[in-house]
Each structure stands twice: as C-alpha cells, then as structure tokens.
Symmetry: C2
Subunit: 288 residues, 2 copies
C-alpha cells in the first residue's frame, strides 16, 4: 500500500489515519471530509499527510480507499468516486451495517475495482473517549465481509491493513453481520435510549434523577451516543432490529406477567443472566 485515502474524518477515520501513519512503512495518507474543517483538523493532528476538498482529488492515485462516513452517506460517496478511482484499487468502508453498503458497491463500482466491506468493533467508541487515537483498534475485532467473487488479493490487502493497525480480522457474510450486530449493538442502543425516555417521562423523574446512581448510569450510557449516527444505522438494519426487539419484548413480558401473577422469585433467571455475563467477561479477558 503506497497511498491510502480516508473519506470521512470523524473519530474512526481520523484514528485510522493516525494508526496508518504510525506504521513502520506508512502509506501516504490523503484525507477528505464533507466538512473541510474536519479534514484540516485531521491534518493538524497529523492523521493525514494531505487534506483535499474534493472527493475526486482525494482518491486520485490511491491503491486503498477507506470510506469512514456515516452509513447513510456511503452510497453517494461510491457514486461520486466510481468514475475516478485508480484501476485495480481496493475500496473498503467502516460502516456499522454491511448489506446496503455491499449492495451499493456491487451496483456502482466498475468491475476493475474490488470492494471489501469492513466494520471495526472499537469498543471505546461508546465508553466516553472522545479523542481520535492511533491505538483505538489495538486488540479489537474488525469485521470484513468480502463476497465469494471478491478477488483474494483485495481481501488480503484490507486484512493486512487491519492487522497492521493491531486489530483482528473477522470474516463473515454481510447478511450474517447485520443480524449479529442488530443483537449485540443496535438492540442495546435502542434499549438504552428507550429506558432513558421511559424514566424521564414519568412524574417522579425529578426525584428519580437525584437518586440515579451506578446502575442507571451504566444501562443508559449508550443513550448519550450520537443519535444521528445511530438513527442512520437503525434505518439500514430495521428488519433485524425489529426482530431483536420482538425477542426482548417477549422475554420482558414473560417476566412482567410472572411478577404480576405473584410469582415474585426471579432468582433463577437472574442467576442465569449472571453466569452468562461472567462467562462473557472471562472469554473476553482470555482473548486479550
């Protein structure tokens, strides 16, 4: 990789730039953003070698193009860059859903350009760290969703980039990816936001808000995350999110019905949840 272009210089794009420029043999990194301020900021942070205003200028001569815009903007970006991409270059993205993006790439990109969908599962994004960081991806899982027709060289190029920034490539089907992240990411977000609204719309909220402590804090923390970005994500994965919501609603309703019927002992299900969560923590520690 001699030259990489990063389109969209938010948290992910800027952190990617920092990580790439820190490599032993770094590529030249060109950055662009629909808000030129963001591109200039990335330049000041030394996340890009050069900031460009126009998408067409930014992708010119690059062998890897990384689209790190919100999911909803990827299609338009692909439309704009398709005619001017360098022959044989590889395009990837960092969006939280993959079916729509992979479909758009197949439709819009010429057959000489390979597309490999990507999704970095960078956990710190939702835990309050607001500054771009070259180590954001270190030790994290990074989903890649090539299709059976994606040229192996293109898959290797993106997988190598992922490994170079310290992440672990995790290959899966776009369809499967979107089903899994609906459960593990989009459902928790919708639940967190809904719980926040349900509590704050009650008469007792003024008093509740004074009493709210660690438990409330932890479960509603995601609600503070960028709502525009998440609305975009949910929109592109609404069938899966709806299905996950139904599963959760059924389980909550079953618990509510038991409580309402006077079966007030939830010990069995609370212990089960505890074991599952502790086991997840154990596996996560092991994989670090």
């Amino acid at each position: 990789m001699k030259q990489a272009t990063i389109i969209g210089l938010g948290m992910i794009g800027t952190s990617l730039g920092l990580a790439l420029r820190r490599l032993p043999s770094p590529p030249r990194v060109i950055g662009t953003d629909s808000q030129f301020d963001a591109a200039q900021r990335a330049g000041r942070l030394k996340a890009v070698d050069r900031a460009e205003r126009r998408l067409e200028d930014a992708v010119s001569g690059s062998d890897l193009v990384i689209i790190a815009t919100p999911v909803g903007a990827v299609r338009e970006v692909l439309q704009t860059i398709a005619p001017v991409l360098t022959q044989g270059s590889v395009v990837t993205d960092t969006g939280s859903t993959k079916r729509h993006v992979v479909y758009s790439a197949g439709e819009l990109l010429p057959s000489t350009i390979a597309f490999v969908g990507g999704h970095p599962m960078a956990g710190r994004l939702t835990s309050g760290v607001a500054e771009p960081d070259a180590t954001l991806f270190a030790g994290t899982v990074y989903c890649l969703t090539p299709s059976s027709s994606t040229p192996p060289d293109a898959v290797s190029a993106v997988a190598n980039m992922v490994q170079q920034i310290g992440a672990q490539p995790y290959f899966l089907d776009p369809e499967e990816h979107d089903g899994l992240v609906a459960g593990i990411s989009h459902l928790p977000y919708v639940v967190s936001a809904t719980l926040m609204r349900v509590l704050a719309s009650q008469q007792g909220w003024r008093e509740m808000s004074v009493l709210a402590a660690g438990g409330f804090d932890s479960v509603t923390r995601l609600a503070a995350h960028d709502p525009d970005m998440f609305a975009d994500i949910v929109k592109s994965n609404s069938d899966n999110v709806s299905r996950q919501l139904s599963l959760l609603i059924d389980a909550l309703t079953s618990t509510r019905d038991r409580l309402a019927a006077g079966e007030t002992d939830l010990l069995g299900e609370l212990r089960a949840a505890n074991s599952l969560r502790v086991e997840w923590e154990r596996q996560r520690e092991k994989s670090k």
Copy 2:
C-alpha cells in the same frame, strides 16, 4: 453516638464501619454477621472495633444499630434484636426497598426504640469496585424514610451519621422511595439481565459474543451484579417493578411496531433520549 452496631458486614456494612471509625470522634463499632468469617474480615480491615458472634451480644449497649443485611433478612434480625435493644436506641437499615422494612420495624420493635429506614445510593457498588471503602458514601445521596411518628431526635441522629460519612440525606416516604427506585435501579437491573439472556440464548451467540464491544458491555454490566441480592430486592418491590416493566414494554413495542411498519426513522426519539441523558449528566456534575 458512643457505640454503633453494624449487622451484616458485606460491602455496605464494612464500608460503613470504615467510614465511622475514621470520624474525628469515632463511636465504638461492634460488628456481626451470620457468617462469622465476614465479621472477622471486617475486624482485620479495622472496620469494626470488635466482632461478635451473637446478634444479642452485638447490639448490647449500642445507641445506634445499623442493619446492613440483604433486604430479605431484615425482618428476622428485627425479631431477634427487638427484646434486647438498649432503651432509647435508634435502629436504621441500608436496604434497597423500604416499605417492607419500615412495616416490619413498626410491628416488631418496642415503642421505646425508634426506626429510621435508610438506603445509601452508593453508585460505585455496581461499577466494579469490589473492596469495602471508607469513602464509598462520599458525595452520594442517602435516602432516609422516617414516618410522621418517628421522634425528631432519632431522625437527627441518623441524618447526622449520614452527613458525617460524607453523604447527603434525602428524605422521602417509604412508598415513594420504592416507586422511584423501581424505575431508577430495579428496572435497569432486570432489563440488563433480560437482555443478556435474550442475546445469549440465540443461535448466533457464539459469534455475537466475539463481536460484543463497548455498547453491549455497558448495557449488560448490571447483569454481573449479585443475583441473589437483586432477586431479594425485586421480590420486596414486585408491584412497582411490574409497573415499570409495563411502561418499558409499551415503549419498546411502539418502536418495534413502527420499524415493522417501515417507519424506520427513529431520529426523533433517539435525539430526545440523548438530550435527556446529557441533561442528567450535566445535573449530576453540577451537584458534585
């Protein structure tokens, strides 16, 4: 306060002991626990001056008795100590629900003994700090639920203790307390545990568990909390928890129905949740 007894030397009881013994004019602190190991450990940690095996010996001569056992054990403790409490002494507790405890105290304690229900909202309890700590209560809200017939001197004695350990007394009715904490504490816990079970019972859980990152971590963290303690709490507040669950189920169902009907734009409700959560954070910072 010359001598205080702490019954139940878990996280709260032991931290209370450490905090009391650190006061400029500390009371003598007697500790007891149904598991004598716990009392001995509190002694080693210097959270108590003396550990006693028998409840009756532990409360003898104390002007303040603090019951810091699980909620479900308070009634039996009250029954045991009622005949041997020092005339004029004050009893309080640290349980997460207050109606049952206040009712039991009214029924079981002689009229010469005052009871003031208490509930420290110590946020760090659910955020992973496992060690008892003298500063656990510093800057936190501490609910007190005296009734109109509680002698003012008894209320002052407990409120003073609360202030001395750095917490802020917050007076409310037992009924009101239990309604508010059902929303702010018990609902988040049940939701966290249920989400954990719903995800882990799916076919894709093995893959999901690999992809799970910050969002999942934050929303399901409470599920790792002591399930026996929480089952006990839910049991003593099942009517309020059931009511809160219904409110959440209704809101989730409304969102699910909109998604299923193709109205996939959740921006309005996600922005509303974001504003509410950010405002809560702002108020919390201000009150620190």
